[in-house]
Symmetry: C2
Subunit: 256 residues, 2 copies
């Protein structure tokens, strides 16, 4: 069998330390193609570039890998990879390592995870990795060990169709991590705040800040796992239908 | 009881014809605050602005309504509305009318729908409206009648908690529409294509195109409803957990 073809992307941009750690961790598993944003694209969610052009430039970032910087979003990177660069579907999409948690509802805002979801939409096994540490000097050693374990398992056992994984790694040394835990997405939400500031012309601008609050007491959630030093592994799907509401809303079919 | 406070937004921008039709259709239901992007933000999905500032300028677009143009994404608009402009949660969020379908998996890419999903995250009843007609001269008469019917029902009967509606309206005159149909999201996907073009310096750029293909034969889907001249109403939730995969992946908990 040929070596697996692995697409590597992220949302922090091709020069981020997180993607370098990801490349290092997965390079022995197959042939890599790296296509990542040419600038930070955090919080871009499932955005795609429909009102503008896209640039894709060969980059010499990771020795021995086919590497491109893209002017678009993480989802654009996955689309360009499949439909323009590779001309076939890769065997695996890995995205990250994100600088900061993408647990719980952050999956919706996260470019890292949306790249993985786009992989799932294409029927490709896909994994988004995030380290719960925003700092520039974050330690990715534990992440690399986790990535190897997760990628080995996914390549060996595959994933259910149209399911990708949201893998979040607690901050700390490799020895601090208790193991992996399969979880559901916690019911936790951003309590937003906008800082009002002024430019040199006295004109207001706003900066989004806020606090992430967990309202979910369940011990089967990703937040619980992370708080207890487990790596959280949430299987993610893209059917947003609220199936539990369908029968409740059935009367809508009779509205004149 | 006070009149309901209704937040109106969209992704095509504050000057689009679709949001004008939406304002016209909902203005008799309550007090409106309109906060919409100052430029087209189609395909922005659930993107938020975390690496840049946000501008919010008072706009005189719709007489008799409190109206603002925002430099950010549709989700930014909802967040600014709740946490900065209104200082309370509105009773209803309406988004659209989008120029073009947001049925099926388009819900993931759609800024219109992500604004509604952000409403649901905040526990607010929310509805995204889209007309299956991209043309600038699209006829919004049928849409206005549909909007009135849907908003009346939602204000009267409420929605299940953390559920919003993805309402897509077939192209045509009001008389052509057979009724409303509660549906699930069809399994349909974009088959992407990138046009390679060249700028004046002979440098390549790419433009995303493609075709949307339905792989779902079900008669309970939004695509089926629209193809049969029904308004599709899909209840949407934001828990992306693949619950069906949890037990299958249980062995992950034992990986050393």
């Amino acid at each position: 069998m040929n070596k697996p073809l692995i697409l590597v992307t992220n949302d922090d941009g091709i020069t981020a330390r997180g993607i370098a750690s990801l490349v290092e961790a997965v390079k022995s598993f197959g042939d890599l193609v790296v296509i990542a944003p040419d600038k930070p694209q955090s919080g871009m969610g499932h955005a795609i570039t429909v009102n503008n052009l896209l640039r894709l430039d060969k980059a010499e970032v990771f020795a021995g890998t086919d590497c491109y910087a893209c002017s678009g979003t993480p989802v654009d990177c996955v689309k360009l990879a499949i439909y323009h660069v590779m001309h076939r579907k890769p065997d695996l999409v890995v995205s990250g390592v994100n600088h900061g948690s993408n647990a719980s509802t952050n999956v919706l805002y996260s470019g890292t995870m949306s790249a993985a979801v786009e992989g799932a939409l294409e029927g490709i096994p896909a994994i988004g990795f995030s380290l719960c540490d925003h700092r520039g000097e974050a330690d990715f050693e534990a992440s690399k060990q986790v990535i190897k374990k997760v990628v080995t398992t996914v390549l060996d056992k595959k994933l259910p169709e149209n399911v990708c994984l949201n893998v979040n790694i607690p901050k700390g040394k490799p020895g601090d991590i208790k193991g992996l835990k399969i979880c559901r997405q916690a019911k936790a939400f951003w309590d937003d705040k906008f800082d009002r500031r002024q430019d040199m012309f006295g004109r207001d601008y706003f900066w989004l800040t806020g606090e992430f609050r967990n309202y979910d007491g369940g011990e089967d959630t990703d937040i619980w796992a992370l708080n207890n030093n487990y790596v959280s592994v949430v299987p993610i799907q893209f059917d947003m239908t609220a199936y539990h509401a369908l029968s409740h809303l059935h009367y809508w079919n009779n509205i004149e």
